[in-house]
């Protein structure tokens, strides 16, 4: 069967040659073509592994930097919130108040409805703790007596004692004869929160700047690719290709660069968190807490990959609008 004979049949039917296939068939062909280009652009990247890897690593670093900072700041924010929620405070005994008297006071305080829980730390326990964590064990051994007072840690009931009533309770406790002083210092928590907020905005600015950098890294890569494939683009346009058709492989290339960059960045973030998780745990133990670093989690991991893929597409789009669409046969 000759091509041209069929051509005549089509002409005789009065149909344009491009109407020869049905709508669903064409839709099917459309997705086929998309899938083909999607994979072909992946294959193209894989055929130049070194140059692809170099680009991907640059993208990954640019993405990992704000992502790591984001996770750290997010952790700091959670820590500071936890501190505020536990409006716990410490009652240090006056020198000369014995452990028995202090324990007695602790029991009396526990009877009060506005006190939710009481934790009594004897002079000896305080000394042991201090010896363990302060690093002054040797210095303590020289002392012939225990200089530390007993401490009662109090946790007010958060419903009976709202934050604004806390000061009243503290003043009352300060009047007790056994009390040396009450330590309840929200100021440093507030300072921490202000710093965290400051850092959060910093991370935001850093993310925006580095995202722009990623867009331009990708657009530069795509621009070079476009240059090396300009013949193909011009021929395709001569054969009736739309801007969408010639642009598609480059958009997908941009997507792949972004996605791979995001994947590597994700790996970098997890590695960094793994490395610092042990020091963080040790640090948190010093504060009588067993804080576990909050990692990226599923949702944020997906968000990271989606954002990086989108940045890739945007990077390619910049080039398409500025160069490809204007690249016409001469």
């Amino acid at each position: 069967m000759s091509v041209l004979n069929t051509s005549r049949k089509n002409v005789n039917r009065g149909a344009s040659p491009l109407d020869a296939t049905g709508f669903s068939k064409r839709l099917d062909a459309y997705f086929q073509a998309h899938a083909q280009v999607f994979l072909a652009s992946l294959g193209r990247l894989c055929r130049a592994p070194i140059s692809t890897a170099m680009t991907v690593i640059v993208i990954a670093i640019a993405l990992a930097l704000p992502a790591v900072f984001y996770v750290l700041v997010d952790n700091a924010r959670q820590v500071s919130e936890k501190i505020v929620l536990t409006n716990q405070f410490s009652l240090f005994m006056r020198p000369g108040v014995s452990d028995d008297e202090a324990a007695n006071l602790a029991n009396r305080l526990l009877q009060r409805p506005e006190i939710a829980s009481v934790d009594f730390i004897s002079k000896q326990a305080a000394l042991d703790e201090f010896r363990e964590y302060s690093g002054f064990a040797g210095a303590l051994d020289i002392l012939e007596f225990n200089p530390l007072p007993a401490v009662i840690q109090l946790q007010p009931d958060e419903f009976l004692v709202p934050p604004e009533a806390l000061q009243v309770l503290i003043t009352e406790l300060e009047q007790l004869p056994e009390t040396g002083f009450v330590q309840f210092d929200l100021d440093w928590v507030k300072r921490l929160q202000a710093i965290v907020e400051f850092a959060r905005i910093g991370v935001l600015i850093l993310s925006v700047l580095l995202s722009i950098a990623v867009i331009f890294i990708i657009s530069n890569t795509i621009r070079l690719e476009l240059k090396s494939r300009s013949d193909e683009v011009v021929v395709a346009k001569l054969l009736g290709a739309t801007n969408g058709f010639v642009g598609r492989p480059f958009l997908y290339s941009g997507f792949w660069y972004g996605l791979f960059g995001g994947l590597v960045a994700w790996g970098v973030v997890l590695s960094v968190l793994l490395i610092i998780s042990e020091p963080v745990r040790k640090l948190s133990l010093l504060y009588q807490s067993n804080y576990q670093l909050v990692s990226l989690g599923l949702e944020r991991s997906i968000a990271l990959l989606v954002i990086s893929g989108l940045l890739g597409v945007m990077g390619a789009w910049v080039v398409l609008v500025h160069q490809l669409f204007k690249m016409n046969p001469k």
Partner: protein, 223 residues
Amino acid sequence: MLQFDKVNKRYEGTGDALVDLSFHVEKGELVFLTGHSGAGKTTVLKLAALIERCTRGQVILDGENLGRVAARKIPYIRRKLGLIFQDYRLLSDRSVFDNVALPLVIAGFGRREIASRVRAALDKVSLLGKESFYPQMLSGGEQQRVGIARAVVHKPSVILADEPTGNLDPDLSLEIMSLFDQFRQVGVTILVASHDLNLISKMGCRLLYLEQGSMTGGEACQY
């Protein structure tokens, strides 16, 4: 099918390429466009393929005034055409099959239909056995036949060829021309720009003679 009506084309800097050019190619006609280099042959083809637009006058292709076609509609106009170039313009990193399939891929055909049409087109130019070859593995004449297969695979109503035999020896040239004659016989309109008068005279087709952008003569068809 293709009509030029008092067409002027002026390029910035180099002056008038076409002056008051009028001619009409009927459906199913094979017409040669000849003249010296720089006479405006290529410009005529560029206007017909919407690579350039005329400065004045009208170019009408298949009833459509090309001067009024919006930029985003140009691809759809080009799909009605089969373009053949002196330098073949094949993609060197794609096989013969993929080169010929390109117009169908662009037009959104399904894989199975593409395969059967590409084979039919390659059969027509006697290259069926070389689907998986790459262009640089083929001779000049074979490459031009791939170019022709690519130009006809989507069954265009008009074929425009710019010096299609410019790089080929006389025997191969005649072979290419006889292919064009076969296409004419099945109703395709063909406009061939060529300065090879010797070859054209053998074909006995209608001839348009261009000189400095104007029609200076012509010969009627002899078949």
